[in-house]
Subunit: 347 residues, 4 copies
């Protein structure tokens, strides 16, 4: 067997970082990943201090960031599970040191300037940032498998965006959707999607027995979705909601088809598009995905229901926001970058 | 003070029945309600055997159904919290015995035959059933206050229907909505809305950490909504979802306005429509209702967000499905039927 | 009817403060309470800004603290729902201004110095603090009804302490328990008991699908329990756990009786002790309380199970931590202080 | 590599059966297991019809039970995840056909007749049943590893029992516990432990926001615990509670030590006992296990806290009831039976 790949992860103390660490550790093609912490000073020395669930599998030492040390250890691929500001600052350095990078933040996903404005990036070196923005490949393997395979910088998609784009791509790319009638995604996410920082909004008492909508017409993932689907901003209405569950996303998506279709045609359209794509499951109508089915897996589950008129179509799309919506998709991208089976380390 | 009204409740062992019993018991205008059980044989003799939370407040004796006994006790108003088949059979009898009736089931809500088909009613006396169907007043007090006041039979609205109709009525009645572009209600409900009978779908392990959509394009409440809003069946897409919470409904509703409006205009439209209606709260934009805010109250909370184009509008509507969506609304209807303040017994 | 009592509440932005505000507002003997905020500067001007569930019932203006203003408004009774440090500082001032006080914190509950040490009180005026500590009445109405009636300062009990003391008092006061064999309370609480401040421990993702024990042998409520029960610190083992529910406490309590008893004797012992006490419900064996039954009520529910040997006894005690464990008990104490029925404003 | 072992699973439609199927499918030493359904007639033909989460991994065909067919397929090891009545009837047949058996029910765990009474077994062939009861090895690998290795019939332990026995065995076997003072286990379990059959008790609305104790002094697992720990029935008080979580057990266990010890001594005692046992993690005091840490793993997590007197000891024990409490432990037992590393297929 070939020598094992050496990887590092920066930003392991969040939910995605933990999930990623576990996946990488189990991946048969990898050496145990180098875990890098952003703070050079205090804080935990071992990730098991932050996440006691890691106890007993050997140590998870956290190291301060040193490009020299990563190189001397032979690290080739770096994962960043850092906030977008940090990713925007660190990725150019990593690339300059010759690393390949998979970034899980929103820092490098957007090609169109008007969509990037919402992030208010402060680039130290605007030219390099601009160049990397161009070169970055949007890491949705089902759409950009070839690009990912050859990328130096992969921008791992947002969780909501993954669920919405995968549901809509088959029909939109086939020009079957009447965009002028509007595309609506009513999306619902578990609380880990809101991050690990304690806030009034993520307090257990605020979430339990509750449901709330937020960021109406203004969520950051709108830019990703419209760029990837090739629609205009005003075509898409995207409404996220915070569910009283720890993880999982269900998007209920409403479109009108250009012409009356049968359920069988719709199902075929979805199945054909994802033929050979191991991480998308198309449900046979009238069965529908639920959050449960894709939890703790890397699947995106797709189902649909067509009105009697054959034109009003509802798509249901479910993912685990920490796996297909973050860490699992990052591993899937790595598999493509190194020519491995997309399923490796994810089953 | 006037003599207290004598009431009875039939079907008290479900979630709505319990809630209704508690409300009636506390209502200052009422004598303690007579609780009638449907089964003449075995079963509980006191409602506190079914719901130990009722212990300590005196007894809640359950009596077999006897029209003669209800009359001899001076009962004037009967609440039915029974399944629709039972209501369809029992209401004609109750009316024949001179009682006024508030029925919480779907038995008498629908005027149009095509909407009733989904219930497959088996009427013993078709002529009487037809006549009562005509006479029944849809008990949404904010729309039909006068009708309710004079009704002999009030058909208490469905929970989902209440949340959707109250959100849409102001703009639709003012012809501000472009119906041809479609009206979508993506609605989410707590599990008590699915009833108390144990099923695989309501098992804790099936619901916790999950979210699922169901009855796409086929939910029974569609008929109520389109009849009350005066739109056609194909104008409305209604998608219910089962939330991992015990109670509460949030509906996210998508419409396109006929012409660009300002948020202030929309807010005014809502506020004017519900002026003097104590049980609807319009939230000042950009604040939005959440399930929490209306829980354990009779409020319907309405909020909205308007896109920059001034035409794409999202309405958020929240209720407690057991109160404004069932027992609370029933009490509100009773208040109107007897000329009392709509808030009595509900604060 | 007599003139209505004027009250004020200091510290209304926490969970207990909200609950208390709602109870006082509905209480027929009271004028609408004056709501006092601790911060003189910024922050909310109306409590409905913090808790939108309060919208629509009229305003809840928040006022800066001014003893002169409270006096000029005729306020006689002050509730403090502040942290214990604030209560320790403010209560002497309130008393000096002639107010009667019900304090919901741990500041004045403990008579024995060794139990107070855990709070590390910093008293500006040690003599006054010491005097008030002596005079303060522990506000558990079922044990100290007469003291409460005449108290100037009532120290409202802790939530866990309420559930444990009420369960054990009947048998301990009757010397039926073998203390030397140890008294164990394994208690479980909803998250509102941990307060509203967001922390890593109260993040939804940390609580959901989880259970944890904390403060083993070191919880602050141990002092209250042993003082009130008249046992020594080493007699009691008290273990709190954090449940994935918003509110409610269940304590499972293990004792050994001095001599074999029958279940009927135990039940009689409990019933006799709480005869005439409206807010304790003794469950007839073999029925047991659950958290659900006392939620949103002021009841303490007690049940038990006796081993075949007639000596190993398990007591189950349930309360709503925000009502009988905080705000409801405060209202019950007020009722006693002013000679009203203990149930007023709490049904 | 050696030929892969052929296994079959009977009773795959429950929670443990699903978990077991997934584990066996991933186990590198096994062929894909044969899935046997108990009903010969209707019902699902593929397990993915019951559990849509299994879609996409190839089929999970369900076969009617035929001993001849199992033999002809070369099946050597049979897992039973059936109710205890079914296991009691089927295991003798399986043994007679020369299969090795791991039974997950309570059918074969108990050696002492007075403990078996609670199950009311109806054995067709009493002599064989009695003989098998004798031969069956209680499959707690940390206690009976050698027995398991050579067993023809392994009785997989109960979930609660696993959590309690593993916590207490080190100190009890070392005679460090004062049994006469009583051993109390206050245990809390997620709802999957109550099985998949819908009942009023497992309805989401009955469980959410609730906690309840049940089967006080009468739970079936008491027999297993006392037999395995070598204590008398009256030494142990075991109280199970139903938690509003899908899976996971936390037991809070109270004992008194025979003599004052230090925390270091207690920790050493636990660590030494489980030295070389990969599936027990001893937490370094003062850290304590939580349900979260062992979820979705085969670990039993142990922690403790010692009172200042050095004698009152609280042990905290956490497992995932479907893994270490059922399917994971079954795989661990299989590993021992075939001489493989205990961790295979469980990491």
């Amino acid at each position: 067997m070939a020598a094992k790949l050496k990887t590092a992860v920066l930003g392991v103390s969040g939910y995605s970082g933990l999930e990623l660490t576990r996946l990488l550790e189990r991946h048969a093609r990898l050496e145990k990943p180098v875990l890098v912490r952003r703070e050079n000073g205090g804080g935990a020395r071992d990730l098991a201090e932050v996440f006691p669930e890691l106890l007993g599998n050997g140590g998870y030492p956290l190291q301060p960031l040193s490009w020299g040390e990563l190189k001397s250890k032979g690290v080739e691929l770096l994962f960043l599970a850092t906030p977008h500001e940090a990713s925007r600052a660190l990725v150019p350095e990593a690339i300059a040191h010759g690393l390949r990078v998979i970034d899980l933040s929103g820092a490098w996903r957007l090609k169109q300037e008007q969509h990037r404005e919402i992030y208010s990036f402060q680039d130290a070196d605007a030219a390099t940032a601009s160049e990397l923005t161009e070169k970055a490949v949007y890491g949705l393997p089902e759409l950009h498998g070839n690009g990912v395979a050859n990328a130096q910088l992969v921008a791992n998609p947002g969780c909501y965006a993954t669920s919405v784009i995968l549901a809509l791509a088959p029909l939109l790319k086939a020009s079957l959707v009447d965009r002028a009638r509007g595309i609506i995604s009513d999306s619902k996410s578990g609380v880990s999607g809101a991050g690990k920082t304690p806030t009034a909004h993520t307090h257990f008492v605020s979430i339990a027995d509750n449901l709330s909508a937020y960021s109406l017409f203004t969520h950051r993932h709108v830019g990703e979705i419209v760029e990837q689907l090739g629609v205009s901003d005003s075509d898409l209405t995207f409404t996220p909601h915070l569910l009283p569950i720890p993880r999982g996303i269900l998007s209920t998506i409403y479109v009108r088809l250009n012409r009356p279709m049968t359920a069988a045609e719709v199902e075929t359209s979805l199945r054909d598009f994802y033929s050979g794509k191991p991480w998308v499951r198309v449900f046979a109508t009238p069965k529908l995905p639920q959050v449960h089915y894709s939890l703790h897996t890397n699947y995106c589950d797709l189902g649909f229901c067509l009105a009697e008129d054959g034109q009003r179509l509802i798509l249901i799309s479910c993912i685990d926001n920490l796996l297909k919506g973050a860490a699992g998709q990052a591993v899937q991208n790595m598999n493509l970058m190194y020519g491995w089976d997309e399923r490796e380390g994810l089953r």
